[in-house]
């Protein structure tokens, strides 16, 4: 490659920004985000009405806050997953992937760009809706027993969890149809913790119980990264080591999923 042609290749960051813009436009064209926002607004209006009637005690306030934060948390994940799972299949179906890859954009950059964009969309949704979930505070400002540090930890781990969902969404969309990948990840996101407990309890006394417990740990457990109830429950922040451990846990699986996606996509016959 000549120096001249190399100079014409835009840096990866430009390609990622452009891919991000594309994903952003797609999100705004589709209706999921507006549906989530609309539902959250219904929640906010409901809380304001409740405030007008009167939130009598802190317990009700924390209950409402938990409801709002949980919805915001789920919405961020749902949007990231919906967006990530259809990126590659949709571009293959519409044949828009070929002109894109004909440009000086590597496949890794493409995957990275899609992942960053879908993660950012999920995080933005989480932030926006989490802000709305604090509406109860406007009508019940007496509740001050919330831990700022735990809130920070909840947000950081929530963002990591969204990044993980996006990476897994991209990965599975390469091997199974988008509907299947959506369903599988959503089921694992919502129920894996209980399913794991069931399996361990069912086989808890068996000779290979330790081995089973070890193997089950390989499947990502999103509930570990969800601190919403802990936050509204008034329990103290996580210790530094536990928080760091959880961040590494989320980061490790995300990085692995992303690398595998890159490898699979690179080897894929288009």
């Amino acid at each position: 490659m000549s120096a001249e042609s190399r100079a014409r290749i835009p840096p990866a960051s430009t390609a990622i920004t452009l891919l991000g813009k594309g994903v952003g436009i797609e999100i705004f064209r589709r209706k999921e985000f507006y549906v989530l926002l609309f539902l959250m607004c219904i929640y906010a209006v409901g809380v304001i009405i409740a405030g007008a009637v009167g939130i009598e005690d802190a317990a009700t306030f924390f209950f409402l806050l938990n409801l709002g934060l949980t919805f915001a948390y789920l919405s961020g994940h749902l949007l990231a997953l919906l967006t990530a799972a259809r990126q590659v299949p949709k571009e293959l179906e519409h044949r828009t992937l070929y002109p894109l890859l004909a440009k000086p954009v590597t496949r890794q950059t493409y995957i990275l760009g899609k992942w960053i964009a879908t993660t950012a969309a999920g995080i933005a949704t989480l932030f926006l809706l989490a802000l709305l979930s604090f509406v109860p505070w406007l009508v019940f400002p007496e509740a001050t027993e919330l831990s700022g540090l735990l809130f920070l930890q909840m947000i950081v781990l929530g963002c990591l969890s969204i990044a993980l969902v996006a990476a897994l969404g991209l990965l599975l969309s390469l091997v199974v149809p988008p509907g299947v990948s959506l369903t599988v990840i959503a089921l694992f996101f919502l129920f894996w913790n209980q399913a794991k407990a069931f399996l361990l309890a069912w086989y808890g006394d068996g000779p290979a119980a330790g081995f089973l417990g070890w193997v089950l740990q390989y499947i990502p457990d999103f509930s570990k990264l969800n601190l919403v109830t802990r936050y509204t429950d008034g329990v103290g922040p996580l210790g530094a080591s536990e928080f760091l451990g959880l961040a590494v846990y989320g980061g490790l699986i995300t990085a692995l999923a992303l690398l595998l996606t890159g490898v699979l996509f690179e080897r894929r016959q288009l």
Binding site: A58, Y249, L252
Partner: protein
């Protein structure tokens, strides 16, 4: 030039492969750490605080949201109660409609309230009440019980025809008649689900174990003990579970094991019991009765094992820790002192 390019590609490829392998290696070892990361496991919190639950249940939102507010395990519990009464909704042990109206978390029975402090604790009655509370009865028909139903009888119902229709289309039984308990065997998977959904649902462990035990086969008894063991693992300070294990060992004739379980139950109960006893918002009458049962059984089993001095010492310790709540120990202690003198 080409050679340089390919070697640069190799290096790149090699480094990515290295990263992937390194990550895989770390991932392979990760369960050693991730198994211990349990940020959702903690003691206390507003979700479990009974005063907070009551406050939430009295709010307008409770009425609007209905059962959505309850977690899966609580919903299952309500359903099991309905099942045990053939679908007839009796006034609650735990009922969310009632909770939303009254704000009360638990139906509090009268029997312990009318007992004077320091008077003899009727253990048999306590035991029978407890069994009935958890649905274990030796007879199916309760001649002495006339629990009120959620749907009122015609004589108390102002709704006239609508009320009549309500009674006809929903499972209902006149509260003037003795209520009937159905067999709870079919509920066993529900209790399993309850504890899987909420491993801190102590009552589900207790009732599930009772039903298992009630099947009266050796396998089921072992299963009941395993269920209780799991409950203790998940709730190491739940004294009621030690108490139940104690009863089971006692029935099996393993007196020393039973004594040890009752000792643990009594120790945890004495530590947890607030000085106000059942007047405290977090300490129910059932807990009070279970605490007394644990203390009583611990002392009595020490006596049975002929550790008279130890039994007297324990009795004094428990009286000092729990005061008049364990007034029945006075008589036991006198008997023990008499036995000691005879020896």
């Amino acid at each position: 030039m080409n050679g340089k390019k390919s070697s640069s590609r190799d290096r790149k490829g090699l480094s990515r492969t290295h990263i992937l392998w390194a990550l895989l290696a770390v991932f392979a070892l990760s369960p050693a750490i991730s198994a211990n990361l349990q940020p959702s496991r903690y003691e206390g919190g507003r979700v479990k605080d009974e005063a907070d639950i009551e406050a939430r249940n009295t709010s307008a939102f409770a009425l609007i949201l209905g059962e959505i507010r309850a977690n899966v395990s609580d919903l299952l519990f309500v359903k099991t109660e309905l099942y045990l009464h053939s679908g007839v909704a009796y006034m609650p042990h735990l009922d969310y409609g009632e909770m939303a109206q009254t704000g009360e978390i638990e139906h509090r029975p009268a029997p312990t309230e009318d007992r004077e402090p320091g008077t003899e604790f009727d253990f048999e009655r306590h035991f029978r009440e407890h069994q009935e509370e958890v649905g274990i009865v030796d007879h199916d028909d309760h001649d002495d019980e006339h629990a009120p139903t959620i749907i009122p009888p015609a004589r108390q119902d102002f709704r006239g025809f609508i009320g009549e229709l309500h009674r006809r289309v929903k499972p209902w039984r006149d509260p003037a008649l003795a209520h009937i308990h159905t067999d709870g065997r079919e509920l066993l998977p529900w209790y399993r689900l309850m504890t899987l959904s909420d491993p801190h649902h102590i009552r589900a462990y207790m009732i599930g174990a009772w039903w298992l035990k009630a099947q009266r086969s050796e396998t089921q008894r072992k299963e009941a003990m395993r269920f209780l063991d799991e409950g203790v693992r998940n709730n190491p300070t739940a004294f009621q579970l030690y108490l139940m294990r104690g009863y089971m060992h006692n029935e099996d004739g393993n007196i020393e094991l039973a004594r040890d379980e009752f000792a643990l139950a009594a120790r945890h109960a004495a530590e947890q019991r607030p000085s106000q006893g059942p007047q405290h918002r977090d300490w129910t009458d059932y807990m009070e009765d279970d605490a007394r049962g644990a203390v009583r059984m611990h002392v009595l089993l020490e006596r049975e094992l002929r550790n008279i001095e130890r039994a007297i010492e324990l009795s004094r310790e428990y009286r000092a820790a729990m005061g008049e709540a364990v007034g029945f120990l006075n008589r036991i202690e006198r008997d023990l002192e008499a036995m000691l003198e005879e020896e």
